[in-house]
């Protein structure tokens, strides 16, 4: 049975660099306004007119979970999240080293890492994002709105959750071998 996951979607073109997401996140998760404790981080690089965020993309095949030496990070197939069991984390920082997206952060206070967990299904960063850069959507609408720009089946994108279509696709490719092109309708 295919699982319906919800994706935290980021549309950089809409980000204004207001950084409200950092404040909402740290308040919700740590009880204080402190961007250093936020699980979502603003990205800006003046003088370039670019704003966006980095956060855990809850990868379908998470490199962090693959390398964690105490299995503190695991992929939850029920809700699609990459879960962190804090009591198992030793702060070795290997997850930071393998995450290509800068989605995990280290707390020197606790000597442990921390990351986004979608706030139990009600992400606060999304709630406060006035420009609409951040949204929390089911997979279908995510595919529809992003299909023009992003390779949805590339490992690591949050859309790659191993759904039936994707499994058929990968099985076909494996059987037919490389140098194969499969055409299929979006969604």
């Amino acid at each position: 049975m295919a699982q319906v996951y919800r994706n935290l979607t980021i549309e950089a073109a809409k980000c204004t660099g207001c950084r409200m997401c950092e404040l909402a996140c740290s308040l919700k998760k740590e009880g204080e306004f402190n961007p250093a404790k936020s699980r979502i981080r603003a990205v800006s690089i003046p003088p370039l007119p670019f704003y966006s965020v980095v956060t855990c993309l809850q990868c379908g095949d998470p490199p962090c979970a693959r390398v964690c030496p105490t299995a503190a990070l695991t992929k939850d197939r029920d809700n699609g999240l990459v879960n962190l069991a804090e009591e198992r984390c030793v702060g070795c920082m290997l997850c930071l080293v393998v995450c290509p997206f800068g989605g995990v952060f280290y707390s020197s206070e606790k000597n442990k890492v921390f990351k986004c967990d979608h706030c139990q299904g009600d992400p606060q960063c999304v709630a406060v994002c006035a420009p609409g850069c951040l949204s929390y959507t089911d997979q279908g609408p995510s595919y529809a709105s992003l299909s023009s720009g992003v390779d949805l089946l590339s490992p690591g994108t949050s859309a790659c959750q191993g759904c039936t279509t994707e499994l058929i696709l990968r099985h076909s490719l494996r059987t037919l071998g490389p140098n194969t092109i499969i055409g299929f309708p979006p969604g």
Binding site: A12, A13, R41, V43, S44, I45, P46, L48, P49, F50, S52, V54, P63, R66, V67, P69, T70, A71, A85, E87, R88, V90, G91, C92, M93, L94, C95, L96, V97, V98, C99, P100, F101, G102, V104, Y106, S108, N111, S148, G149, V150, R174, P178
Partner: protein
């Protein structure tokens, strides 16, 4: 022609072995695997041992897989079994005690063991090493009663063990034969910074000298150790952390080609058909095309296990090549080095900035506009993004002017730019 094996034997139960098992099962759930482990405990990672030693994790929260895991991967786990011989002609492995396991494909993930330095008197004095769970427990027990320790070797294991012992209240001396500590990962300047912080925490670090002889003190708990420079040191505990050597015994006797490690190609195959290897025992291609190397770090064990598992199960995968990296925590600071961090030469461009009072250090190495190596101490970074930029050979030429002002955001921007084909309007 693609051959799919019916039965696979995996020698080892560490990170490479587990990654191989998962890859095999993902590739084809019909394949039946047998995992043979020399140790008697469930799978764990040696990476976690220093933290167990430091009391940061309990043994109950430390093992990597539940018992049911192996069955779920259509595998069985044999614990406390040592593989004595590999017989490639007969496609069998022989266990101590005589039992033989047949295989269609074999994955060798026997790892590495501590090198024991050839010092006179070492056996008589008694020493500790830091590699297995049993080693760690033995050291934890001994450290409770000891007041001082001497660590031979100023590499990652030596320095980690030293800071762990210091935190337990012991007086610690580290002896490193090279001119600086952590010589493989940090240059002279950054190594000096690290050394300074250890000394501020009460450690004594001696570099450029070797241990010649060690003698137990008569009637006392201490031993005395003579250095090549003439000085004699005394301590209660002796830890040998001078390096690791791949466990090659099985390979050598069976005709599997070895150099310093088991030689593998980009599919993790050895010279013998149907035999693959990965992890700390393997010598595989370097990412930068500079030959083969042993890259004994967890993420590479996982990558090699996965690639090997896919290939031996009948699929196709290539190992992109080893990029060495290390992240090293010491006394509430972090040091990170990766890739060709120490490279020098006309083809490399260095970008360096040091903040001596803050013990902050940044050294980046570029080639043709692409990042190839980095050393960072006490600097806010996303290490994974840095590696991503190296691994994907992202051309950073256009945005180099933005690096100096904010390296953290520089990395994030470069990553986002390389990941999204469409840039927002106006950029």
């Amino acid at each position: 022609m693609v051959t799919v094996p019916n039965q696979v034997v995996i020698i080892g139960n560490g990170s490479a072995a587990l990654a191989a098992l998962e890859a095999i099962h993902s590739a084809n759930a019909q394949i039946r695997s047998t995992v043979v482990s020399e140790e008697g405990c469930p799978a764990y990672s040696p990476t976690a041992l220093p933290y167990l030693f430091a009391g940061r994790v309990e043994e109950s929260q430390f093992y990597l897989r539940a018992e049911s895991y192996y069955q779920e991967q259509n595998a069985r786990l044999l614990l406390s079994k040592r593989v004595e011989r590999v017989l490639p002609e007969e496609k069998k492995v022989e266990l101590a005690g005589g039992e033989a396991l047949e295989y269609d494909k074999l994955f060798v993930a026997t790892g590495a063991s501590p090198v024991i330095p050839g010092i006179n008197g070492l056996k008589e004095v008694g020493y500790f090493v830091f590699k297995t769970l049993a080693d760690t427990k033995a050291l934890m027990s001994a450290a409770k009663k000891a007041k001082s320790a001497l660590v031979l070797g100023g590499g990652l294991v030596g320095m980690d063990t030293a800071s762990g012992l210091i935190k337990r209240g012991l007086k610690v001396t580290v002896v490193e034969k090279e001119a600086r500590v952590l010589p493989l990962y940090f240059d002279r300047e950054s190594s000096e910074l690290i050394k300074r912080i250890y000394e501020e925490n009460g450690a004594r670090l001696i570099t450029g000298q070797e241990a010649i002889e060690v003698v137990p003190e008569k009637g006392g708990r201490e031993f005395s150790l003579k250095l090549s420079g003439g000085e004699t040191l005394a301590a209660e505990l002796l830890v040998a952390a001078v390096g690791m050597a791949p466990n090659l015994g099985l390979a050598k006797d069976s005709g599997i080609e070895v150099n310093r490690g088991i030689l593998v190609d980009e599919t993790m195959r050895t010279n013998l058909p149907d035999i693959y290897a990965g992890g700390d025992v393997a010598e595989a291609d370097d990412f930068f095309g500079q030959g083969k190397l042993i890259n004994a770090i967890l993420p590479d064990a996982v990558a090699q296990g996965r690639v090997g598992g896919i290939n031996l199960a009948g699929g196709e995968a290539r190992y992109a090549g080893a990029i060495s990296f290390n992240i090293f925590n010491f006394f509430e600071r972090a040091a990170f080095s990766c890739g060709l961090a120490l490279a020098e030469g006309p083809e490399y461009k260095q970008v360096k900035k040091v903040w001596p009072k803050k013990a902050r250090f940044r050294r980046l190495v570029f080639k043709n506009g692409k990042l190839v190596g980095a050393t960072l101490i006490n600097e806010a970074i996303d290490p994974g993004i840095i590696l991503h930029l190296i691994r994907n050979r992202v051309d950073l030429t256009d945005i180099m002017p933005n690096l100096e002002a904010d390296f953290l955001n520089f990395g994030r921007y470069a990553m986002i730019k390389s990941e999204t084909p469409e840039m927002p309007k106006g950029t």
